[in-house]
């Protein structure tokens, strides 16, 4: 029984290797195939036609095509983490050990309980859900939608992680040729022989396109052989890159194309070090779309049974794969190409019982029962085709027993990529199909069947000519002799008969009735038709069904097809896996960590880390016996304020600013003044956006007459630098000022606490006594006997504090040296939590206050905005709405009951006021537990807050169930006089 439907090799050898056998399973049943098979061709060779269930009605379905346009034969491929849903069996290349399963069925493919939907089809017409499941409103989300989603659908995704890698790559060429059929091969030969850099990409694993499925001669050989010889010639050219299994999925601006190469999908597992798929970005001088054409069916009642296929697909299975889909075959056609299928199949010994030709008159095929003016009006066979009903030209009906039917309604040029920039295809009545219109992507030419040139000769000629035109070549190769049959077609879109359902879009279960309903409800534009009926959606994007749908709409509305128009296409041409789009950007590689210079030391200590932007910073460093984070953080704060603590602040942005106008430049970008800053000093700077809102803050030091070092917040390091470059280049190009980011160049540590100077003096080579290095001093120094370093006497903690910077590679050594040399002071390393506690105790603003909505005035820093000079944001910071007396002001907050807890984000309310938005007085921006004050403390923005110091209010957080009385205090909650930091 194995491969019962394989045609004798003498009649149809095909492009398969019959000397080797591949084993595979479908729904657990073992089968055999050959190298060169697709999953679909191998299943058909084994007599398996039923491969899936339809989306909505759960109708039994088999493949209708032999290519990427397939709407029906969608399967789950592979298992475990490699399981992939909705794979088209018609393009899945067979390999030894392949496991495939059908989907959207329960309990089995042959008996699907949801098949009941088919009996209830009246209820599932277009728009039914929206009209019916309206009330009660809450039922939609909770009840109706989950049930409908479960019943309808495609494959299921695995819950396991994909073990394979995906990659991205970049390619450049003079000419990209999309599709390796006769047109594409001829174009590539023309360009390749002229020495141009050519990429020839084809979605198939075997180049040749339709030539592999036809019996035509090209020159002196079979078409498939000519293709193979041409591919061999191209592969020997160093300037040509051949890419099989590569689908060009999108055309983007300026000659850029994206392509998906399925590197390993045809293997059981990818070879070591190889990705499963690669997403290529191809930069081209020109491109030629030679994507061929896709056959379309004719709609008739029950035209979706397994065994009913596109006629060209029947022919392809026979010629390329040596497979006869049935024992008794008929063909239903409205054009000459359908006749070709009948002749080819008959020549391979297949029993062609009838050709039903909708066209009246004309010649009859010799040796075949050729019915002119006839139509197929119905079919039978629950799990596979058993018979068709034919209405003859004299009106008589006849039932013919067949197990396969080829249907040809004509061929649609694959214009898809040509309309990615909104070019509208135009209708060509001579072939009854849409062809590429004007204004396609710049540099893209179209050749072969994709442009409506349907014969082999026309494909070869247009391919060559397109390459010559694209590259400006004066001559090209001679064309081999090939058939040049004209297209003879009399359009027939659907067979009008009875009340049954005739499918247009098999993937979405859209029938002729649905189009009629759309018309009846006035959804007559093609865009409305698509959305109302779902015609042309999902994985196949209506490659076989779209044109029929709009042609029927044209009929119903009495308009011509050009008047009705067509929807256009967007990338991707065929579905692309999410993993392919992600490439290597998975897990931490999506967002890699930046590690601080003290990271390795901290890791050795068992530090807890926190993500800050891309950085991984030490959050706290637990000691033995500490079981709760607050114990560690409280200890770090107390130890710092008692003796000395060290914190890695490398993550702050650092920008060197040099030039004779550096000071004047800083005056323009900071709200306060820097040109007056003496050399060797630093100053806190407040940077505004042009709209007057605070952008960033930090300290900037004057290291020399024309040299400053700016620090930014960690979060804004990149955007501040970008902004400064904008100011420098776009606003004040005449200024002599140069910028460079040195964030990565310097490791920087804050050393804070009463013993900070004593500890540092053990490291620093120069005298740093208060007299020699006063508060807000800055300068270049050396440490450890000569290593260049920078020292800034600045404090975020409120303690006597310094920031010391050394070249990054010495950061780790510096930290260890400070801890060793200063051991007598019991130095501790503190993390971002203790940093936060100390800055909030001091009322310094940070993330919660620098929220992109607050002004200097809100922060209590209004006086810093100098009006004596022009600076970014100065003018608009004076806007009426930003300078209200009663506006938000930064305040400190502590609970009246020291045991009470606060939460950031809570709102201020007057005592007795109802907790409603109208009474909202502001909110808490940051909150910590202060070990010095022995209670929670917070900063917040309070309306008119500067006039409410000393008052009592309530803090309310309805989400946290918090409503507690607090005292409004100065934000400077610890050492308000600043005696410690000047010590």
């Amino acid at each position: 029984m194995s491969q019962s439907h394989r045609i004798d090799a003498k009649l149809a050898g095909g492009q398969i290797d019959r000397t080797r056998t591949l084993r595979f399973t479908f729904d657990g049943i073992p089968y055999q195939g050959h190298p060169g098979d697709t999953l679909a061709s191998a299943l058909l060779a084994n007599g398996v036609r039923l491969m899936g269930r339809s989306f909505k009605y759960h109708r039994p379905r088999g493949p209708i095509s032999a290519g990427s346009e397939e709407p029906n034969a969608l399967v789950e491929l592979r298992t475990g983490g490699r399981q992939e849903p909705n794979t088209r069996a018609t393009v899945a290349e067979l390999y030894d050990g392949l496991e495939a399963n059908s989907q959207n069925r329960w309990p089995s493919l042959r008996f699907d309980a949801m098949g009941i939907n088919d009996k209830l089809s009246t209820f599932f017409a277009a728009g039914f859900y929206y009209k019916t499941f309206m009330w009660p409103k809450s039922f939609w989300e909770k009840l109706y939608e989950p049930i409908i989603r479960r019943a309808a659908g495609l494959g299921s995704v695995t819950r396991e992680e994909d073990p394979d890698t995906y990659d991205k790559g970049f390619l450049h060429c003079d000419l990209l040729v999309i599709g390796a059929g006769p047109a594409g091969l001829m174009a590539a030969l023309t360009a390749g022989r002229a020495g141009k850099r050519v990429i020839l990409a084809d979605e198939d694993f075997r180049m040749g396109g339709r030539l592999n499925a036809e019996t035509f001669a090209v020159g002196d050989s079979q078409g498939a052989d000519w293709a193979a010889v041409s591919v061999a010639e191209l592969s020997a050219m160093p300037n040509v890159r051949l890419m099989t299994r590569t689908t060009v999925v999108g055309a983007f601006d300026h000659g850029i194309y994206s392509a998906v190469e399925r590197v390993s999908d045809h293997l059981l597992t990818p070879a070591a070090g190889k990705p499963r798929q690669v997403l290529w970005r191809i930069y081209t001088g020109h491109a030629i779309l030679a994507g061929g054409a896709t056959e379309r069916p004719i709609a008739f009642e029950n035209n979706d049974r397994p065994g009913i296929m596109l006629a060209g697909a029947l022919r392809a299975y026979a010629t390329r794969w040596g497979v006869k889909v049935g024992e008794r075959i008929a063909v239903f056609t409205n054009n000459d190409d359908g006749l070709r299928t009948a002749l080819d199949l008959q020549a391979k010994g297949v029993d062609v019982v009838a050709v039903i030709d909708s066209r009246e008159g004309g010649d009859l095929l010799p040796g075949i029962r050729h019915l002119r003016g006839a139509e197929v009006i119905d079919s039978t066979g629950s799990l596979g085709l058993k018979s068709i009903t034919v209405r003859q030209s004299n009106g008589r009906s006849e039932t013919i027993a067949v197990d396969a039917l080829g249907v040809s309604g004509g061929w649609n040029p694959n214009v898809n990529i040509h309309s990615h920039h909104r070019s509208r295809p135009v209708y060509d009545a001579s072939i009854a199909a849409f062809v590429p219109g004007q204004d396609g992507p710049q540099g893209l030419l179209v050749a072969g069947a994709a442009t409506g040139a349907m014969s082999t000769h026309a494909a070869l000629k247009t391919g060559r000519d397109a390459a010559m035109a694209a590259l400006g070549l004066g001559t090209g190769p001679d064309l081999p002799q090939a058939e040049d049959a004209p297209v003879r077609i009399t359009p027939l879109w659907h067979v009008g008969h009875g009340k049954g359902r005739a499918w247009i879009d098999q993937q979405n279960d859209v029938t002729v009735k649905d189009v009629k309903l759309a018309k009846q409800e006035n959804f007559t534009s093609v865009e409305h038709l698509k959305r109302y009926t779902t015609l042309g959606m999902a994985t196949d994007q209506g490659k076989t069904g779209n044109v029929i749908g709009l042609a029927i709409m044209a009929e119903l509305t009495g308009r011509s097809i050009p008047e009705t128009g067509t929807t256009i296409y967007r990338p991707p041409y065929t579905p692309v896996a999410m993993g392919t789009l992600a490439g290597r950007s998975r897990g931490k590689e999506f967002k890699p960590f930046r590690l601080t210079p003290s990271h390795h030391w901290a890791k050795e200590q068992g530090a807890v880390f926190v993500e800050v932007g891309n950085w991984l910073r030490t959050q706290w460093v637990p000691k033995a016996g500490e079981t709760e984070w607050r114990q560690s953080v409280d200890r770090e704060v107390l130890a710092t304020r008692k003796s000395v603590g060290i914190c890695d602040v490398t993550t702050l942005g650092k920008i060197d600013i040099q030039g004779t106008d550096a000071g004047a430049f800083l005056d323009r970008v900071y709200a306060n003044t820097f040109s007056t800053l003496p050399v060797g000093k630093c100053r806190y700077g407040l940077m505004l956006r042009e709209d007057g809102i605070v952008f960033d803050d930090g300290t900037t030091a004057r290291m020399g007459e024309n040299e400053y070092v700016m620090t930014t917040t960690t979060a804004n390091a990149v955007t501040v630098f970008r902004h400064l470059e904008f100011c420098r280049q776009c606003l004040w190009p005449e200024m002599d000022v140069q910028l460079i980011s040195t964030t990565e160049a310097w490791a920087q540590f804050s050393v804070a606490g009463p013993n900070a100077r004593k500890l540092l003096q053990k490291i620093v080579d120069q005298d740093i006594s208060d007299a020699a290095f006063p508060y807000m001093g800055a300068g270049s120094i050396t440490v450890c006997g000569g290593l260049r370093a920078r020292l800034f006497r600045i404090s975020f903690s409120g303690e006597l504090a310094y920031e010391i910077a050394v070249p990054t590679r010495y950061g780790d050594a510096l930290l260890r040296e400070m801890l060793a040399k200063g051991a007598e002071y019991d130095p501790i390393v503190y993390g971002t939590e203790a940093l936060g506690v100390m800055r909030i105790e001091k009322g310094h603003v940070a993330g919660g206050e620098l929220n992109g909505q607050s002004t200097a005035l809100n922060m209590g820093l209004g006086k810093m905005v100098s009006k004596k000079k022009d600076a970014i944001g100065m003018v608009l910071s004076q806007r009426e709405g930003l300078t209200e007396e009663s506006g938000y002001r930064l305040v400190g907050v502590k609970p009246v009951n020291p045991e009470a807890k606060l939460t950031a984000g809570s709102h201020f309310l007057e005592t007795g006021a109802a907790a409603v938005a109208e009474n909202d007085g502001g909110w808490l921006t940051s909150k910590v537990y202060s070990p010095h004050l022995g209670c929670d403390i917070a900063l917040g923005y309070l309306k008119g807050g500067d006039r409410k110091i000393g008052q009592r209010m309530r803090i309310v957080n309805l989400l946290a169930g918090l409503d507690t009385e607090v005292e409004i205090i100065s934000p400077h909650m610890f050492d308000p006089e600043g005696e410690r930091l000047r010590g």
């Binding site: 709209d691 005449e734 100065m874």
Partner: protein
């Protein structure tokens, strides 16, 4: 998209950061212009379907700010200039 950088040649647009309308170069003088002028400068923009001069920053490159003349309908880029040169030509000085 590909932007033909006046110094570095053709570069992928992914290397750039987009800012917007190049009229941002024409910042009023804060010492003479008032709130109205700044409001107009900062918030009022034309939104043409067609040719648009706009600022792009070569962040993954040489940090040049560029003025790119781009058709917003077709994405065709007809001119690329260094913003510094444009600013100078518009008389922007210290």
């Amino acid at each position: 998209m590909i932007i033909h950088h006046p110094i570095l040649g053709p570069r992928d647009a992914q290397e750039f950061v987009y800012l917007g309308d190049a009229t941002l170069i024409d910042r009023p003088d804060g010492m003479t212009a008032g709130v109205e002028a700044f409001h107009d400068y900062l918030y009022n923009r034309d939104n043409p379907a067609g040719e648009h001069r706009e600022l792009w920053y070569h962040e993954q490159g040489d940090r040049s700010w560029l003025v790119v003349t781009r058709n917003t309908v077709t994405h065709e880029i007809t001119k690329v200039e260094l913003a510094r040169d444009v600013a100078r030509a518009r008389g922007r000085t210290k």
